[in-house]
Symmetry: C2
Protein backbone atom coordinates (compact mmCIF):
# COMPACT_ATOMS: atom_id res chain seq x y z
CA UNK A 1 0.00 0.00 0.00
CA UNK A 2 2.86 2.28 1.06
CA UNK A 3 3.69 5.09 -1.34
CA UNK A 4 2.10 3.89 -4.52
CA UNK A 5 -1.46 4.60 -3.54
CA UNK A 6 -3.97 6.04 -5.93
CA UNK A 7 -4.45 9.74 -5.24
CA UNK A 8 -7.03 12.29 -6.12
CA UNK A 9 -4.81 13.35 -9.04
CA UNK A 10 -5.01 9.94 -10.64
CA UNK A 11 -8.75 9.93 -10.38
CA UNK A 12 -8.94 13.44 -11.80
CA UNK A 13 -6.79 12.48 -14.74
CA UNK A 14 -8.79 9.38 -15.43
CA UNK A 15 -12.14 11.14 -15.19
CA UNK A 16 -10.88 14.09 -17.18
CA UNK A 17 -11.86 16.64 -14.57
CA UNK A 18 -10.09 18.69 -11.96
CA UNK A 19 -9.14 17.50 -8.52
CA UNK A 20 -11.72 19.83 -7.01
CA UNK A 21 -14.46 17.98 -8.73
CA UNK A 22 -13.27 14.71 -7.31
CA UNK A 23 -13.17 16.33 -3.92
CA UNK A 24 -16.72 17.51 -4.38
CA UNK A 25 -17.90 14.07 -5.29
CA UNK A 26 -16.27 12.28 -2.38
CA UNK A 27 -17.59 14.92 -0.03
CA UNK A 28 -21.09 14.78 -1.42
CA UNK A 29 -21.19 18.38 -2.52
CA UNK A 30 -24.39 19.27 -4.32
CA UNK A 31 -22.90 21.28 -7.12
CA UNK A 32 -21.80 18.48 -9.42
CA UNK A 33 -23.78 17.46 -12.47
CA UNK A 34 -25.07 13.97 -12.21
CA UNK A 35 -23.21 13.08 -15.37
CA UNK A 36 -19.86 14.19 -14.02
CA UNK A 37 -20.63 12.52 -10.76
CA UNK A 38 -21.25 9.20 -12.45
CA UNK A 39 -18.05 9.61 -14.40
CA UNK A 40 -16.02 10.34 -11.32
CA UNK A 41 -17.54 7.49 -9.39
CA UNK A 42 -16.66 5.15 -12.19
CA UNK A 43 -13.08 6.37 -12.16
CA UNK A 44 -12.94 5.99 -8.39
CA UNK A 45 -14.22 2.45 -8.60
CA UNK A 46 -11.94 1.56 -11.50
CA UNK A 47 -8.86 2.75 -9.70
CA UNK A 48 -9.94 1.59 -6.26
CA UNK A 49 -9.34 5.06 -4.93
CA UNK A 50 -9.60 5.68 -1.18
CA UNK A 51 -9.17 9.24 0.07
CA UNK A 52 -6.15 9.68 2.29
CA UNK A 53 -7.37 10.44 5.77
CA UNK A 54 -4.23 12.21 6.86
CA UNK A 55 -4.32 14.62 3.97
CA UNK A 56 -7.91 15.46 4.76
CA UNK A 57 -7.04 16.05 8.37
CA UNK A 58 -4.22 18.27 7.27
CA UNK A 59 -6.36 20.33 4.94
CA UNK A 60 -9.30 20.59 7.27
CA UNK A 61 -7.33 21.08 10.43
CA UNK A 62 -9.32 18.51 12.35
CA UNK A 63 -8.07 15.09 13.34
CA UNK A 64 -11.40 13.66 14.39
CA UNK A 65 -9.45 11.75 16.97
CA UNK A 66 -10.06 11.66 20.69
CA UNK A 67 -7.58 10.70 23.36
CA UNK A 68 -9.04 8.48 26.05
CA UNK A 69 -6.88 8.28 29.15
CA UNK A 70 -7.72 5.70 31.77
CA UNK A 71 -5.71 4.39 34.72
CA UNK A 72 -5.71 1.04 32.93
CA UNK A 73 -7.46 -0.80 30.15
CA UNK A 74 -8.10 -4.10 31.91
CA UNK A 75 -10.41 -3.20 34.73
CA UNK A 76 -13.83 -4.35 33.66
CA UNK A 77 -15.54 -1.10 34.47
CA UNK A 78 -13.06 1.02 32.52
CA UNK A 79 -12.95 -1.39 29.61
CA UNK A 80 -16.72 -1.38 29.33
CA UNK A 81 -16.89 2.38 29.24
CA UNK A 82 -14.13 2.53 26.66
CA UNK A 83 -15.82 -0.08 24.51
CA UNK A 84 -19.08 1.85 24.60
CA UNK A 85 -17.38 5.15 23.85
CA UNK A 86 -15.25 3.73 21.08
CA UNK A 87 -18.21 2.31 19.20
CA UNK A 88 -20.21 5.49 19.69
CA UNK A 89 -17.58 7.93 18.48
CA UNK A 90 -16.80 5.71 15.54
CA UNK A 91 -20.43 5.85 14.54
CA UNK A 92 -20.06 9.61 14.29
CA UNK A 93 -16.89 9.52 12.23
CA UNK A 94 -14.50 9.98 15.11
CA UNK A 95 -11.74 7.78 16.48
CA UNK A 96 -10.71 6.92 19.97
CA UNK A 97 -7.13 6.43 20.98
CA UNK A 98 -7.27 4.76 24.36
CA UNK A 99 -4.17 4.66 26.49
CA UNK A 100 -3.40 3.57 30.00
CA UNK A 101 -2.07 6.26 32.27
CA UNK A 102 -1.48 4.54 35.60
CA UNK A 103 0.19 7.55 37.23
CA UNK A 104 -0.10 11.32 37.05
CA UNK A 105 3.31 11.41 35.39
CA UNK A 106 2.25 8.97 32.71
CA UNK A 107 -0.85 11.06 32.27
CA UNK A 108 1.11 14.23 31.78
CA UNK A 109 3.43 12.56 29.33
CA UNK A 110 0.48 11.30 27.30
CA UNK A 111 -1.08 14.70 27.24
CA UNK A 112 2.05 15.99 25.65
CA UNK A 113 2.32 13.29 23.07
CA UNK A 114 -1.35 13.16 22.15
CA UNK A 115 -2.84 16.54 22.84
CA UNK A 116 -0.12 19.15 22.61
CA UNK A 117 1.07 17.66 19.35
CA UNK A 118 -2.41 18.29 17.95
CA UNK A 119 -2.76 14.63 17.21
CA UNK A 120 -6.08 14.54 19.02
CA UNK A 121 -8.70 17.22 19.29
CA UNK A 122 -10.55 16.01 22.33
CA UNK A 123 -9.76 14.44 25.66
CA UNK A 124 -11.62 11.92 27.78
CA UNK A 125 -10.22 11.56 31.28
CA UNK A 126 -11.24 8.68 33.51
CA UNK A 127 -11.19 9.17 37.27
CA UNK A 128 -9.50 12.57 37.13
CA UNK A 129 -9.63 13.01 40.88
CA UNK A 130 -8.36 9.61 41.91
CA UNK A 131 -4.95 11.23 42.13
CA UNK A 132 -3.30 14.52 41.19
CA UNK A 133 -3.69 14.11 37.47
CA UNK A 134 -6.43 16.69 37.14
CA UNK A 135 -3.81 19.35 37.78
CA UNK A 136 -2.28 18.62 34.40
CA UNK A 137 -5.41 18.87 32.37
CA UNK A 138 -4.99 21.41 29.57
CA UNK A 139 -7.47 24.28 29.85
CA UNK A 140 -7.98 24.82 26.15
CA UNK A 141 -8.92 21.38 24.86
CA UNK A 142 -12.43 19.96 24.69
CA UNK A 143 -12.56 17.64 27.67
CA UNK A 144 -14.97 15.17 29.18
CA UNK A 145 -14.45 13.86 32.68
CA UNK A 146 -15.62 10.31 33.17
CA UNK A 147 -16.63 9.13 36.60
CA UNK A 148 -16.38 12.47 38.28
CA UNK A 149 -18.57 15.25 39.53
CA UNK A 150 -18.39 18.55 37.65
CA UNK A 151 -15.49 20.20 39.41
CA UNK A 152 -13.54 21.80 36.60
CA UNK A 153 -15.27 24.79 35.12
CA UNK A 154 -14.55 24.06 31.49
CA UNK A 155 -15.01 20.35 31.10
CA UNK A 156 -18.16 18.33 30.67
CA UNK A 157 -18.63 15.30 32.86
CA UNK A 158 -20.49 12.05 33.07
CA UNK A 159 -20.96 9.78 36.04
CA UNK A 160 -23.25 7.11 37.30
CA UNK A 161 -25.74 8.22 39.87
CA UNK A 162 -23.59 6.89 42.64
CA UNK A 163 -25.69 8.42 45.37
CA UNK A 164 -28.57 6.39 44.09
CA UNK A 165 -26.42 3.27 43.89
CA UNK A 166 -25.45 3.78 47.51
CA UNK A 167 -29.07 4.24 48.47
CA UNK A 168 -30.22 1.17 46.60
CA UNK A 169 -27.55 -1.03 48.11
CA UNK A 170 -28.11 0.23 51.63
CA UNK A 171 -31.88 0.14 51.31
CA UNK A 172 -31.72 -3.46 50.22
CA UNK A 173 -29.80 -4.43 53.32
CA UNK A 174 -32.05 -2.41 55.60
CA UNK A 175 -35.10 -4.00 54.03
CA UNK A 176 -33.71 -7.35 55.06
CA UNK A 177 -34.02 -6.11 58.63
CA UNK A 178 -30.40 -5.27 59.30
CA UNK A 179 -29.63 -2.49 61.77
CA UNK A 180 -25.88 -2.77 61.83
CA UNK A 181 -24.91 -2.07 58.26
CA UNK A 182 -21.28 -1.36 57.53
CA UNK A 183 -19.80 -0.04 54.31
CA UNK A 184 -16.46 -0.64 52.70
CA UNK A 185 -15.60 2.33 50.54
CA UNK A 186 -13.28 3.12 47.70
CA UNK A 187 -10.54 5.73 48.19
CA UNK A 188 -12.14 8.69 49.89
CA UNK A 189 -10.61 11.12 47.40
CA UNK A 190 -12.83 9.81 44.63
CA UNK A 191 -16.18 11.40 43.91
CA UNK A 192 -17.65 8.01 43.32
CA UNK A 193 -16.78 6.95 46.85
CA UNK A 194 -18.18 10.11 48.35
CA UNK A 195 -21.41 9.76 46.46
CA UNK A 196 -21.98 6.13 47.32
CA UNK A 197 -21.21 7.03 50.88
CA UNK A 198 -23.75 9.84 50.74
CA UNK A 199 -26.39 7.37 49.58
CA UNK A 200 -25.46 5.11 52.47
CA UNK A 201 -25.81 7.92 55.00
CA UNK A 202 -29.10 9.03 53.55
CA UNK A 203 -30.66 5.64 53.99
CA UNK A 204 -29.34 5.23 57.52
CA UNK A 205 -30.77 8.59 58.40
CA UNK A 206 -34.07 7.73 56.85
CA UNK A 207 -34.18 4.59 58.98
CA UNK A 208 -33.14 6.59 62.04
CA UNK A 209 -30.03 4.55 62.55
CA UNK A 210 -27.27 6.39 64.34
CA UNK A 211 -24.05 6.87 62.49
CA UNK A 212 -21.28 4.65 63.78
CA UNK A 213 -17.80 5.56 62.49
CA UNK A 214 -16.64 2.00 63.10
CA UNK A 215 -19.02 0.92 60.38
CA UNK A 216 -17.15 2.77 57.63
CA UNK A 217 -13.94 1.18 56.43
CA UNK A 218 -11.89 2.56 53.58
CA UNK A 219 -10.77 0.14 50.87
CA UNK A 220 -9.16 0.69 47.49
CA UNK A 221 -11.58 -1.19 45.22
CA UNK A 222 -9.45 -4.35 45.28
CA UNK A 223 -10.64 -7.73 46.52
CA UNK A 224 -7.73 -7.74 48.90
CA UNK A 225 -8.86 -4.54 50.53
CA UNK A 226 -12.33 -6.03 50.94
CA UNK A 227 -10.82 -9.06 52.59
CA UNK A 228 -8.88 -6.91 55.01
CA UNK A 229 -11.85 -4.69 55.67
CA UNK A 230 -13.86 -7.62 56.97
CA UNK A 231 -11.03 -8.65 59.28
CA UNK A 232 -11.01 -5.11 60.60
CA UNK A 233 -14.77 -5.03 61.04
CA UNK A 234 -14.60 -8.23 63.06
CA UNK A 235 -12.58 -6.41 65.67
CA UNK A 236 -15.06 -3.59 66.05
CA UNK A 237 -17.18 -3.41 69.22
CA UNK A 238 -20.33 -4.18 67.30
CA UNK A 239 -20.01 -6.64 64.49
CA UNK A 240 -22.17 -5.61 61.52
CA UNK A 241 -24.70 -8.08 60.22
CA UNK A 242 -24.57 -6.59 56.74
CA UNK A 243 -21.98 -4.91 54.58
CA UNK A 244 -22.41 -2.62 51.65
CA UNK A 245 -19.26 -3.05 49.59
CA UNK A 246 -18.86 -0.12 47.25
CA UNK A 247 -17.80 -2.35 44.40
CA UNK A 248 -17.99 -6.02 43.50
CA UNK A 249 -14.32 -6.77 43.79
CA UNK A 250 -14.29 -5.75 47.42
CA UNK A 251 -17.54 -7.65 47.93
CA UNK A 252 -15.85 -10.76 46.62
CA UNK A 253 -12.96 -10.22 49.00
CA UNK A 254 -15.42 -9.86 51.85
CA UNK A 255 -17.20 -13.08 50.89
CA UNK A 256 -13.91 -14.88 50.88
CA UNK A 257 -12.86 -13.46 54.23
CA UNK A 258 -16.21 -14.45 55.64
CA UNK A 259 -15.72 -18.01 54.45
CA UNK A 260 -12.21 -18.07 55.82
CA UNK A 261 -13.43 -16.89 59.22
CA UNK A 262 -16.32 -19.30 59.33
CA UNK A 263 -18.99 -16.67 58.96
CA UNK A 264 -21.92 -18.00 57.03
CA UNK A 265 -23.25 -15.76 54.26
CA UNK A 266 -26.03 -14.72 54.16
CA UNK A 267 -27.11 -16.26 57.45
CA UNK A 268 -24.68 -14.43 59.68
CA UNK A 269 -23.68 -11.72 57.25
CA UNK A 270 -25.30 -10.13 54.22
CA UNK A 271 -23.10 -8.60 51.55
CA UNK A 272 -24.07 -6.26 48.78
CA UNK A 273 -21.86 -5.04 45.95
CA UNK A 274 -22.01 -2.54 43.11
CA UNK A 275 -21.12 -2.93 39.40
CA UNK A 276 -22.40 -6.35 38.39
CA UNK A 277 -19.08 -7.59 37.12
CA UNK A 278 -19.00 -10.65 34.87
CA UNK A 279 -19.28 -13.90 36.78
CA UNK A 280 -20.85 -12.08 39.73
CA UNK A 281 -23.49 -14.78 39.78
CA UNK A 282 -20.83 -17.48 39.99
CA UNK A 283 -19.37 -16.65 43.33
CA UNK A 284 -20.37 -18.56 46.43
CA UNK A 285 -22.82 -17.40 47.46
CA UNK A 286 -23.78 -15.52 44.30
CA UNK A 287 -23.03 -11.84 44.53
CA UNK A 288 -25.94 -9.54 45.13
CA UNK A 289 -25.10 -6.36 43.35
CA UNK A 290 -26.34 -3.08 41.92
CA UNK A 291 -25.87 -3.07 38.18
CA UNK A 292 -24.21 -0.10 36.51
CA UNK A 293 -24.54 0.43 32.80
CA UNK A 294 -20.99 1.20 31.79
CA UNK A 295 -21.55 0.97 28.07
CA UNK A 296 -24.20 3.66 28.39
CA UNK A 297 -21.73 5.75 30.31
CA UNK A 298 -19.27 5.40 27.45
CA UNK A 299 -21.89 6.36 24.92
CA UNK A 300 -22.81 9.38 26.96
CA UNK A 301 -19.16 10.39 27.26
CA UNK A 302 -18.91 10.10 23.48
CA UNK A 303 -21.92 12.31 22.98
CA UNK A 304 -20.62 15.00 25.32
CA UNK A 305 -17.20 14.83 23.72
CA UNK A 306 -18.48 15.24 20.19
CA UNK A 307 -20.77 18.01 21.29
CA UNK A 308 -18.01 20.10 22.73
CA UNK A 309 -15.67 19.41 19.83
CA UNK A 310 -18.23 20.47 17.27
CA UNK A 311 -19.37 23.48 19.22
CA UNK A 312 -16.50 24.82 21.29
CA UNK A 313 -18.73 27.63 22.49
CA UNK A 314 -21.21 25.22 24.05
CA UNK A 315 -21.53 25.27 27.79
CA UNK A 316 -20.14 22.23 29.57
CA UNK A 317 -22.79 19.63 30.22
CA UNK A 318 -22.95 17.35 33.21
CA UNK A 319 -24.68 14.02 33.10
CA UNK A 320 -25.73 11.64 35.81
CA UNK A 321 -26.92 8.31 34.54
CA UNK A 322 -30.02 7.26 36.40
CA UNK A 323 -29.90 3.65 35.53
CA UNK A 324 -28.63 1.70 38.47
CA UNK A 325 -30.83 -1.34 38.51
CA UNK A 326 -31.43 -3.86 41.18
CA UNK A 327 -31.51 -6.70 41.16
CA UNK A 328 -28.96 -7.22 38.46
CA UNK A 329 -30.40 -9.56 35.86
CA UNK A 330 -29.50 -13.12 36.72
CA UNK A 331 -26.83 -14.94 34.79
CA UNK A 332 -26.06 -18.64 34.82
Amino acid sequence: MGRSRVTIRDVAARAGVSRQTISRVINGSASVSSETEANVKAAIAALGYQPNAIARIMARGRTHTIACLSPNLTDYTFASVIEGAEAAVRGEGYFLMSSSAPTPDAFRELLNVLVSSARTEGLMVFNPFADERHRFMPPDVPTVLVGARPRMGIASSVAQDDVEAGRIATAHLLALGHRHVATVTGPLAEDCTQDRLAGYYQMLLQSRIAYDPDMVVQGDWSAKSGYEALLKLRTSPVMPTAIFAQNDQMAVGILRAARDSGLEVPVQLSVMGVDDIPLAAHFEPPLTTVRQDFAAMGREAARLMIRCMEDPAAEPEHVRLRRSTYPAPAAV
Copy 2:
Protein backbone atom coordinates in the same frame (compact mmCIF):
# COMPACT_ATOMS: atom_id res chain seq x y z
CA MET B 1 -5.67 25.48 21.01
CA GLY B 2 -7.55 25.27 17.71
CA ARG B 3 -6.13 27.29 14.84
CA SER B 4 -4.00 29.75 16.66
CA ARG B 5 -1.18 27.40 17.50
CA VAL B 6 2.42 28.41 17.25
CA THR B 7 3.96 26.98 14.09
CA ILE B 8 7.45 26.37 12.87
CA ARG B 9 7.24 29.68 10.98
CA ASP B 10 6.75 31.65 14.16
CA VAL B 11 9.73 29.99 15.73
CA ALA B 12 11.84 30.59 12.63
CA ALA B 13 10.89 34.25 12.59
CA ARG B 14 11.66 34.68 16.24
CA ALA B 15 14.99 32.88 16.07
CA GLY B 16 15.91 34.64 12.84
CA VAL B 17 16.63 31.44 10.95
CA SER B 18 14.85 29.36 8.33
CA ARG B 19 12.13 26.84 9.05
CA GLN B 20 14.50 24.15 8.00
CA THR B 21 16.83 24.93 10.84
CA ILE B 22 13.99 24.66 13.29
CA SER B 23 13.10 21.34 11.78
CA ARG B 24 16.68 20.19 12.21
CA VAL B 25 16.73 21.16 15.84
CA ILE B 26 13.48 19.46 16.78
CA ASN B 27 14.58 16.35 14.93
CA GLY B 28 17.97 16.30 16.57
CA SER B 29 19.93 16.64 13.36
CA ALA B 30 23.66 16.92 13.96
CA SER B 31 24.37 19.65 11.49
CA VAL B 32 23.34 22.64 13.53
CA SER B 33 25.84 24.85 15.29
CA SER B 34 25.45 24.74 19.01
CA GLU B 35 24.93 28.46 19.02
CA THR B 36 22.00 28.32 16.58
CA GLU B 37 20.64 25.36 18.43
CA ALA B 38 20.57 27.24 21.68
CA ASN B 39 18.92 30.16 19.97
CA VAL B 40 16.27 28.00 18.44
CA LYS B 41 15.61 26.17 21.65
CA ALA B 42 15.16 29.46 23.41
CA ALA B 43 12.67 30.57 20.79
CA ILE B 44 10.83 27.27 21.07
CA ALA B 45 10.62 27.59 24.82
CA ALA B 46 9.61 31.24 24.67
CA LEU B 47 6.77 30.56 22.29
CA GLY B 48 5.79 27.22 23.79
CA TYR B 49 6.08 25.63 20.39
CA GLN B 50 4.99 22.01 19.93
CA PRO B 51 5.48 20.44 16.52
CA ASN B 52 2.25 19.50 14.83
CA ALA B 53 2.11 15.73 14.63
CA ILE B 54 -0.26 15.63 11.70
CA ALA B 55 1.96 17.83 9.56
CA ARG B 56 4.92 15.59 10.31
CA ILE B 57 2.92 12.55 9.38
CA MET B 58 1.92 14.24 6.17
CA ALA B 59 5.43 15.22 5.24
CA ARG B 60 7.03 11.94 6.22
CA GLY B 61 4.29 9.72 4.88
CA ARG B 62 4.13 7.65 8.05
CA THR B 63 1.38 7.80 10.62
CA HIS B 64 3.14 5.77 13.30
CA THR B 65 -0.28 4.50 14.19
CA ILE B 66 -1.36 0.89 14.48
CA ALA B 67 -4.88 -0.40 14.27
CA CYS B 68 -5.66 -3.05 16.86
CA LEU B 69 -8.81 -5.00 16.08
CA SER B 70 -10.21 -7.29 18.71
CA PRO B 71 -13.61 -8.98 19.04
CA ASN B 72 -14.17 -6.81 22.09
CA LEU B 73 -12.27 -4.66 24.56
CA THR B 74 -13.75 -5.97 27.78
CA ASP B 75 -12.70 -9.58 27.87
CA TYR B 76 -9.89 -9.74 30.38
CA THR B 77 -7.55 -11.65 28.11
CA PHE B 78 -7.95 -9.25 25.20
CA ALA B 79 -7.77 -6.19 27.39
CA SER B 80 -4.55 -7.38 28.97
CA VAL B 81 -2.91 -7.98 25.61
CA ILE B 82 -4.05 -4.60 24.39
CA GLU B 83 -2.77 -2.89 27.49
CA GLY B 84 0.62 -4.54 27.10
CA ALA B 85 0.82 -3.74 23.41
CA GLU B 86 -0.31 -0.17 23.85
CA ALA B 87 2.35 0.64 26.40
CA ALA B 88 5.02 -1.10 24.35
CA VAL B 89 4.31 0.62 21.05
CA ARG B 90 4.04 3.96 22.78
CA GLY B 91 7.51 3.42 24.20
CA GLU B 92 8.74 3.19 20.63
CA GLY B 93 6.97 6.28 19.40
CA TYR B 94 3.96 4.52 17.94
CA PHE B 95 0.28 4.71 18.77
CA LEU B 96 -2.36 2.07 19.07
CA MET B 97 -5.91 2.63 17.99
CA SER B 98 -7.85 -0.23 19.51
CA SER B 99 -11.33 -0.95 18.27
CA SER B 100 -13.83 -3.67 18.90
CA ALA B 101 -14.86 -5.65 15.85
CA PRO B 102 -17.40 -8.16 17.12
CA THR B 103 -18.29 -9.49 13.67
CA PRO B 104 -16.52 -10.06 10.36
CA ASP B 105 -18.60 -7.25 8.90
CA ALA B 106 -17.55 -4.83 11.57
CA PHE B 107 -14.01 -5.97 11.00
CA ARG B 108 -14.19 -5.28 7.30
CA GLU B 109 -15.72 -1.88 7.89
CA LEU B 110 -12.94 -0.98 10.30
CA LEU B 111 -10.31 -2.08 7.85
CA ASN B 112 -11.74 0.38 5.40
CA VAL B 113 -11.92 3.24 7.77
CA LEU B 114 -8.59 2.70 9.44
CA VAL B 115 -6.34 0.95 6.99
CA SER B 116 -7.48 1.77 3.48
CA SER B 117 -7.68 5.42 4.38
CA ALA B 118 -3.99 5.26 5.28
CA ARG B 119 -4.80 6.40 8.76
CA THR B 120 -2.85 3.51 10.21
CA GLU B 121 0.22 1.81 8.88
CA GLY B 122 0.04 -1.48 10.70
CA LEU B 123 -2.61 -3.94 11.74
CA MET B 124 -2.94 -6.17 14.78
CA VAL B 125 -5.69 -8.75 14.47
CA PHE B 126 -6.90 -10.70 17.48
CA ASN B 127 -8.33 -14.17 16.93
CA PRO B 128 -8.34 -13.95 13.14
CA PHE B 129 -9.64 -17.47 12.74
CA ALA B 130 -12.42 -17.38 15.27
CA ASP B 131 -14.69 -16.52 12.36
CA GLU B 132 -14.38 -15.56 8.71
CA ARG B 133 -12.67 -12.26 9.30
CA HIS B 134 -9.28 -13.43 8.12
CA ARG B 135 -10.66 -13.43 4.59
CA PHE B 136 -10.79 -9.67 4.69
CA MET B 137 -7.27 -9.06 5.82
CA PRO B 138 -5.47 -6.78 3.37
CA PRO B 139 -2.45 -8.46 1.80
CA ASP B 140 -0.24 -5.41 1.59
CA VAL B 141 -0.28 -4.02 5.09
CA PRO B 142 2.13 -4.99 7.87
CA THR B 143 0.09 -7.36 10.00
CA VAL B 144 0.50 -9.27 13.23
CA LEU B 145 -1.91 -12.03 14.13
CA VAL B 146 -2.52 -12.35 17.84
CA GLY B 147 -3.59 -15.68 19.26
CA ALA B 148 -3.20 -17.63 16.08
CA ARG B 149 -0.84 -20.06 14.48
CA PRO B 150 1.08 -18.82 11.44
CA ARG B 151 -1.39 -19.55 8.69
CA MET B 152 -1.23 -16.51 6.45
CA GLY B 153 1.97 -16.31 4.48
CA ILE B 154 2.63 -12.63 4.94
CA ALA B 155 1.73 -11.85 8.50
CA SER B 156 3.71 -12.35 11.66
CA SER B 157 2.03 -14.04 14.58
CA VAL B 158 2.20 -14.43 18.30
CA ALA B 159 0.46 -16.95 20.51
CA GLN B 160 0.76 -18.55 23.87
CA ASP B 161 2.17 -22.03 23.87
CA ASP B 162 -1.29 -23.50 24.09
CA VAL B 163 -0.12 -27.04 23.54
CA GLU B 164 1.98 -26.67 26.63
CA ALA B 165 -0.92 -25.15 28.55
CA GLY B 166 -3.03 -28.16 27.59
CA ARG B 167 -0.28 -30.50 28.69
CA ILE B 168 0.23 -28.77 32.00
CA ALA B 169 -3.46 -28.75 32.83
CA THR B 170 -4.00 -32.36 31.84
CA ALA B 171 -0.81 -33.53 33.52
CA HIS B 172 -1.91 -31.90 36.73
CA LEU B 173 -5.17 -33.80 36.73
CA LEU B 174 -3.49 -37.07 35.81
CA ALA B 175 -0.97 -36.60 38.57
CA LEU B 176 -3.87 -36.47 41.01
CA GLY B 177 -4.64 -40.00 39.92
CA HIS B 178 -7.54 -39.33 37.61
CA ARG B 179 -8.11 -41.72 34.71
CA HIS B 180 -11.33 -40.25 33.37
CA VAL B 181 -10.33 -36.77 32.42
CA ALA B 182 -12.72 -34.80 30.26
CA THR B 183 -12.03 -31.51 28.51
CA VAL B 184 -14.33 -28.65 27.69
CA THR B 185 -12.94 -26.84 24.69
CA GLY B 186 -13.34 -23.48 23.03
CA PRO B 187 -14.77 -23.26 19.53
CA LEU B 188 -13.01 -25.91 17.46
CA ALA B 189 -12.26 -23.44 14.67
CA GLU B 190 -9.79 -21.59 16.87
CA ASP B 191 -6.14 -22.49 16.86
CA CYS B 192 -6.01 -21.97 20.56
CA THR B 193 -8.61 -24.67 21.08
CA GLN B 194 -6.86 -27.08 18.77
CA ASP B 195 -3.56 -26.58 20.50
CA ARG B 196 -4.89 -27.00 24.01
CA LEU B 197 -6.65 -30.08 22.78
CA ALA B 198 -3.41 -31.39 21.32
CA GLY B 199 -1.74 -30.98 24.70
CA TYR B 200 -4.60 -32.86 26.28
CA TYR B 201 -4.27 -35.75 23.82
CA GLN B 202 -0.54 -35.89 24.24
CA MET B 203 -0.79 -36.36 27.97
CA LEU B 204 -3.52 -38.98 27.70
CA LEU B 205 -1.40 -40.88 25.23
CA GLN B 206 1.61 -40.62 27.44
CA SER B 207 -0.43 -42.10 30.29
CA ARG B 208 -1.78 -44.80 27.97
CA ILE B 209 -5.33 -43.69 28.49
CA ALA B 210 -7.62 -44.55 25.60
CA TYR B 211 -9.27 -41.66 23.86
CA ASP B 212 -12.96 -41.41 24.67
CA PRO B 213 -14.90 -39.03 22.41
CA ASP B 214 -17.51 -38.56 25.11
CA MET B 215 -14.85 -36.85 27.18
CA VAL B 216 -14.49 -33.93 24.77
CA VAL B 217 -17.24 -31.33 24.88
CA GLN B 218 -17.17 -28.17 22.83
CA GLY B 219 -17.88 -24.89 24.60
CA ASP B 220 -17.57 -21.26 23.50
CA TRP B 221 -15.36 -19.85 26.27
CA SER B 222 -18.38 -18.58 28.22
CA ALA B 223 -19.25 -19.62 31.76
CA LYS B 224 -22.65 -20.64 30.49
CA SER B 225 -21.14 -23.08 28.03
CA GLY B 226 -19.08 -24.57 30.85
CA TYR B 227 -22.20 -24.99 32.90
CA GLU B 228 -23.96 -26.77 30.08
CA ALA B 229 -20.94 -28.89 29.32
CA LEU B 230 -21.01 -30.38 32.79
CA LEU B 231 -24.68 -31.21 32.47
CA LYS B 232 -23.88 -32.96 29.23
CA LEU B 233 -20.96 -34.84 30.73
CA ARG B 234 -23.20 -36.10 33.50
CA THR B 235 -25.24 -37.97 30.92
CA SER B 236 -22.25 -39.73 29.41
CA PRO B 237 -21.78 -43.47 30.07
CA VAL B 238 -18.70 -42.84 32.14
CA MET B 239 -18.75 -39.75 34.32
CA PRO B 240 -15.33 -38.07 34.37
CA THR B 241 -13.69 -37.49 37.72
CA ALA B 242 -11.74 -34.54 36.41
CA ILE B 243 -12.30 -31.82 33.83
CA PHE B 244 -9.80 -29.68 32.02
CA ALA B 245 -11.68 -26.51 31.12
CA GLN B 246 -9.86 -24.70 28.36
CA ASN B 247 -10.40 -21.36 29.99
CA ASP B 248 -11.30 -20.03 33.41
CA GLN B 249 -14.73 -18.73 32.53
CA MET B 250 -15.87 -22.18 31.51
CA ALA B 251 -14.18 -23.62 34.58
CA VAL B 252 -16.25 -21.26 36.72
CA GLY B 253 -19.40 -22.38 34.95
CA ILE B 254 -18.45 -25.98 35.61
CA LEU B 255 -17.85 -25.29 39.29
CA ARG B 256 -21.26 -23.72 39.52
CA ALA B 257 -22.95 -26.58 37.71
CA ALA B 258 -21.20 -29.01 40.00
CA ARG B 259 -22.52 -27.16 43.05
CA ASP B 260 -25.97 -27.05 41.56
CA SER B 261 -25.93 -30.79 40.92
CA GLY B 262 -24.58 -31.63 44.32
CA LEU B 263 -21.20 -32.74 43.08
CA GLU B 264 -18.51 -31.92 45.56
CA VAL B 265 -15.39 -30.31 44.20
CA PRO B 266 -12.67 -31.44 44.44
CA VAL B 267 -13.76 -34.61 46.20
CA GLN B 268 -15.96 -35.99 43.45
CA LEU B 269 -14.70 -33.82 40.64
CA SER B 270 -11.48 -31.97 39.96
CA VAL B 271 -11.54 -28.92 37.72
CA MET B 272 -8.66 -27.15 36.08
CA GLY B 273 -8.78 -23.92 34.11
CA VAL B 274 -6.49 -21.79 31.97
CA ASP B 275 -5.79 -18.02 32.03
CA ASP B 276 -5.67 -17.05 35.68
CA ILE B 277 -8.32 -14.40 35.43
CA PRO B 278 -8.66 -11.86 38.23
CA LEU B 279 -10.50 -13.18 41.25
CA ALA B 280 -9.75 -16.77 40.19
CA ALA B 281 -8.67 -17.42 43.75
CA HIS B 282 -12.00 -16.14 45.07
CA PHE B 283 -14.29 -18.74 43.61
CA GLU B 284 -15.51 -21.62 45.68
CA PRO B 285 -13.50 -23.70 45.65
CA PRO B 286 -10.65 -21.50 44.44
CA LEU B 287 -9.91 -22.00 40.80
CA THR B 288 -6.87 -24.04 39.92
CA THR B 289 -5.55 -22.60 36.72
CA VAL B 290 -2.64 -22.31 34.31
CA ARG B 291 -1.45 -18.74 34.17
CA GLN B 292 -0.93 -17.05 30.83
CA ASP B 293 1.11 -13.88 30.54
CA PHE B 294 -1.08 -11.71 28.38
CA ALA B 295 0.85 -8.51 28.89
CA ALA B 296 3.93 -10.25 27.56
CA MET B 297 1.92 -11.38 24.59
CA GLY B 298 0.97 -7.78 23.92
CA ARG B 299 4.54 -6.64 24.19
CA GLU B 300 5.63 -9.33 21.80
CA ALA B 301 2.90 -8.35 19.35
CA ALA B 302 4.17 -4.79 19.57
CA ARG B 303 7.71 -5.86 18.83
CA LEU B 304 6.69 -7.91 15.80
CA MET B 305 4.47 -5.10 14.57
CA ILE B 306 7.16 -2.47 14.77
CA ARG B 307 9.65 -4.79 13.20
CA CYS B 308 7.60 -5.38 10.11
CA MET B 309 6.61 -1.74 9.81
CA GLU B 310 10.19 -0.57 9.97
CA ASP B 311 11.49 -3.26 7.68
CA PRO B 312 8.77 -4.27 5.22
CA ALA B 313 11.21 -6.66 3.59
CA ALA B 314 11.66 -8.65 6.79
CA GLU B 315 10.37 -12.18 6.82
CA PRO B 316 7.30 -12.76 8.98
CA GLU B 317 8.21 -13.95 12.44
CA HIS B 318 6.22 -16.36 14.52
CA VAL B 319 6.40 -16.40 18.27
CA ARG B 320 5.20 -18.87 20.84
CA LEU B 321 5.41 -17.64 24.38
CA ARG B 322 6.75 -20.35 26.63
CA ARG B 323 5.58 -18.95 29.87
CA SER B 324 2.55 -20.80 31.02
CA THR B 325 3.11 -21.23 34.70
CA TYR B 326 1.48 -23.47 37.18
CA PRO B 327 0.46 -23.05 39.81
CA ALA B 328 -0.69 -19.53 39.24
CA PRO B 329 0.65 -17.33 42.03
CA ALA B 330 -1.82 -17.20 44.85
CA ALA B 331 -3.88 -14.10 45.46
CA VAL B 332 -5.96 -13.30 48.50
